[in-house]
């Protein structure tokens, strides 16, 4: 049983990972839904550009994304300097930066899933709700959003899993600081680089698999429960 006991470093990495991923998903969800809505429903010049921008982290090497974040949002970065001076927010080399890196990297997955479910919503139902006296905003929150729930759940789980696994952008943007930015993959990587770290690495590896499996099962159960609700 000694094999299963986590060391202090591993506990820190695990809780930090869950913390960072939760924050990443929670903060990017409203923006993700908004972006998906804009991409699915509006027509405007530059829509392809926005679409490309959202999907960029999916195709760019993560290290490049991390580097771009560092350039833009680092202590002396273009936006980072302004944030620090006027709002007192520092993102570089702390857990908030790790949240941002995870959020940016998982954003395309979230938007894709949400957009797909949004496009599946029958607009006739929205029209019907309008004739019943509901304004556009009320229609969105009482008709569109509830019908998107399965897609939103899928998007959340995908984004959460992607955030848990985030490595390249995180290590480039916020480095690998124990207790601050050393998430599970970073800790695992670190353990593989030191002599005698194999056991710890294996524990973290098993942990990762368990979390990923749990997330998948959860999403499956939730989606199924929701579909069953629609069928009465």
């Amino acid at each position: 049983m000694e094999f299963l006991r986590l060391t202090q470093v591993e506990v820190e990495a695990l809780s930090l990972s869950l913390w960072v991923s939760s924050w990443a998903v929670a903060t990017s969800l409203p923006l993700g839904i908004l972006t998906a809505w804009v991409l699915a429903r509006l027509r405007f010049p530059g829509k392809n550009l926005l679409d490309g921008l959202v999907h960029l982290p999916l195709v760019l090497p993560p290290v490049v994304t991390g580097y771009l974040l560092l350039v833009a949002l680092g202590r002396n970065g273009i936006i980072g300097a302004l944030l620090r001076r006027y709002l007192g927010i520092v993102l570089a080399f702390n857990w908030k930066g790790a949240v941002l890196a995870a959020a940016v990297m998982s954003f395309p997955l979230l938007v894709r899933a949400v957009r797909l479910s949004l496009e599946g919503v029958d607009r006739g139902l929205e029209a019907a709700a309008r004739t019943l006296g509901a304004g556009p905003l009320r229609v969105f929150f009482t008709v569109t959003l509830p019908l998107m729930v399965p897609g939103v759940i899928t998007g959340l789980i995908l984004a959460f899993a992607r955030s848990l696994g985030e490595f390249g952008a995180t290590i480039t943007f916020v480095s690998n600081i124990r207790g601050q930015t050393q998430t599970l993959p970073l800790a695992l990587y670190t353990l593989t680089q030191v002599p005698g770290g194999e056991v710890g690495a294996m524990r973290l590896c098993i942990l990762s698999v368990l979390i990923a499996m749990a997330a998948l099962v959860c999403s499956e159960i939730l989606a199924r429960r929701f579909t069953a609700r629609l069928k009465g």
């Binding site: 139902l125 309008r130 004739t131 006296g133 509830p146 069928k231 009465g232």
Partner: protein
């Protein structure tokens, strides 16, 4: 008064519709598919924007391009029953019914929940979800949902089109009762003449985006040029009657119009209840003398008023029995009988050929 005047260009299809509907009762919007009926209704509801025009209901202006008025759908106070129901699948029947009602200010609600549920017979469905309802039940809930917003007008876009004839017969009486119990004008879209005859008092005929004719239903249907409009099979006369005897010893219902009695298969009706009857021209035969031994139930004296040549081999004859009746006979019998305008004859009507207010499809259900 319901005032509709809409102009809209949709690709190569142009809609130019101008008509006035009745301020109470049912105004039918009739026409073949693709005539632009649904587009007109969508423009009234505010789901589609006319290029120009004016829409007003009982003095309330909903759209006026000249005055730049364009109320959004949620501000129009119009209840819309869609062809496909469009119940919100994630809500229970009860929540569907109250969705619009809750958004109507209390002071403006004149339609109450319990009477509507009772009228539509949906009390036992309240806890169910729409996916567990039959087609007829869905449409009844959709009607109730629209009604509970206490609308200034109800739009019904072929609410029975997606239902089979049994389900139609299930929903139609509810719409009839609805007209009687709530003083809400209804604009009813349909391409089924029988539905319209059962429900409407006014009619607007549309074709290719334009209004061909509009006005009182019976007057409109009596117009000779309209006879051909409804096609060979639909050609016929509509006669308002009153139930004289709901059920005689032979299971027939007696309907009175003027001095005449019409015997039809038993109807679900009360004595004194008004019934509109449609008699297709092809179900009426002509005799010069009253036949003595015959299976015809209805033999009525009449006078020939008009003779219209139809495509061979038929001739349509308009008979006057206080009201107009059309008979379609073959050219062969026409010549053999030597019929002339002004001649006194007898109209033979098969009792099975009559359509009535509580049956939807006349041919099948009244036959036998």
């Amino acid at each position: 008064m319901v005032e509709v005047h809409v102009i809209r260009k949709q690709g190569h299809f142009n809609i130019f519709a101008r008509f006035q509907g009745a301020s109470s009762g049912v105004t039918a919007l009739y026409g073949p598919s693709g005539a632009g009926k649904t587009s007109v209704v969508n423009m009234v509801a505010g789901l589609m924007r006319p290029d120009a025009g004016r829409i007003a209901i009982n003095g309330l202006c909903l759209f006026d391009s000249a005055r730049r008025v364009d109320l959004p759908p949620e501000k129009r106070r119009i209840g819309y029953v869609f062809q496909d129901g469009r119940l919100l699948p994630h809500l229970s029947v009860r929540s569907n019914l109250t969705y619009g009602m809750k958004l109507t200010p209390t002071g403006r609600r004149f339609v109450k929940f319990d009477p509507v549920v009772e009228l539509l017979g949906i009390g036992h469905l309240l806890h169910r979800r729409p996916a567990r309802l039959s087609g007829g039940e869905k449409q009844r809930v959709a009607i109730g949902r629209a009604l509970l917003t206490s609308p200034a007008m109800l739009l019904m876009d072929e609410p029975l089109a997606s239902l089979d004839s049994a389900r139609k017969a299930e929903v139609l009486p509810f719409i009839t009762r609805l007209c009687r119990e709530f003083a809400i004008p209804i604009l009813y879209v349909s391409h089924a003449l029988d539905e319209i005859l059962n429900l409407a008092t006014h009619m607007v005929i549309m074709e290719e985006g334009r209004v061909l004719a509009a006005g009182d239903l019976e007057a409109l249907l009596a117009r000779p040029e309209m006879q051909t409009r409804f096609g060979r099979e639909e050609s016929g006369a509509v006669i308002p009657t009153v139930v004289e005897e709901p059920e005689d010893a032979f299971g027939l219902t007696w309907l009175r119009f003027g001095d005449h009695i019409l015997k039809v298969l038993r109807l679900q009706a009360l004595r004194g209840e008004p019934m509109r009857v449609r008699i297709p021209a092809r179900q009426v035969a002509i005799a010069l003398e009253p036949p003595s031994r015959t299976s015809f139930q209805n033999i009525l004296p009449a006078e020939i008023r008009e003779i219209v040549d139809q495509e061979a081999p038929f001739v349509d004859v308009r008979l006057d029995l206080g009201t107009s009746l059309w008979a379609r006979i073959t050219r062969h019998s026409f010549q053999e009988l030597n019929l002339k305008v002004g001649q006194s004859v007898f109209a033979l009507i098969k009792s099975v050929a009559v359509s009535h207010a509580s049956t939807t499809d006349l041919g099948e259900s009244a036959g036998g």
